[in-house]
Subunit: 139 residues, 2 copies
DNA sequence: TTAGGTGCAAACGGTTTGCAGGCCT
DNA sequence: AGGCCTGCAAACCGTTTGCACCTAA
């Protein structure tokens, strides 16, 4: 918590109830769109504006306290960084979201670095596709 | 070409100059946003509307003639399916787009199927990260 | 002939921005 | 006191939709 305040201050910014609340909301919610974060924060800070949520999500992401990934084709979802890093599997048919340990793709990360000179950002990675059960149902 | 017309007709749709032009534009451009496709098509079909481009991209994707991926955080980009399947690496710093052969991640595809019961859609996959050169420049 | 397709303009949803205060430090 | 932050409302941008006309089959 003081750790949080330190990071904020060291970056020349200020601590506000809104900022603190946005971070807590993201941590509490797991995966949430800016809109959902806004709704969650509004429970304790009634008048908070959506733009403040957007501005704070941006700041928190710059400070590495929060991350976002594109889970639907529409809105991004933000999640805590305090949890372990992971990437997402999204089923296009049933919408299921699965979190996967980065270890599964470690060999690919190495390959991309070696063969393509590219360092992937696994925390942002989202893989679309189908659950086995949904894939069968489709055909 | 007749192959294209057949697919269209078999799905109970009609062939129009706009539709044909949109497909050709996507094939010609490689990776393009709806807006870029519109600009390209407008070179030969001056009055074409943006909504017609959107509607046709959707139809062409349904018919499997075109695919899209999310290369920027903003607009999707469409590409031909006639080329070999591939996925994308995007450098957040310099914006470079690299196409990668699916073979590189074949082992992961197998692992996801086995361990998570999930069949990834590789053609839609986009991996964000940094070029090695950009990663060095950043620190 | 008739249903699908088109252009136009308006609506939409998510996000950003300009501005006049407000409050952290 | 000074400057970052906030709320509000309007602007933005990509995309979708309703409608009347057109045209492929």
């Amino acid at each position: 918590m003081t750790d949080f305040a330190d990071k904020i201050h060291r970056s020349g910014r200020r601590m506000t109830p809104q900022r603190q609340s946005v971070l807590q909301a993201v941590n509490r919610l797991g995966h949430a769109t800016p809109d959902a974060v806004h709704a969650e924060v509004a429970k304790e800070l009634e008048g908070i504006s959506l733009s403040t949520v957007y501005r704070n999500l941006e700041v928190l992401e710059q400070l590495g306290l929060v991350r976002h990934a594109h889970i639907s084709d529409r809105a991004p979802t933000y999640h805590s960084v305090s949890g372990h890093e992971h990437f997402h599997l999204i089923c296009r048919r049933c919408g299921r979201v699965d979190s996967v340990d980065p270890e599964v793709i470690a060999p690919v990360v190495t390959a991309l670095e070696g063969e393509h000179g590219f360092v992937p950002d696994i925390g942002h990675l989202t893989v679309f596709g189908h659950c086995i059960s949904c894939a069968e149902a489709d055909s």
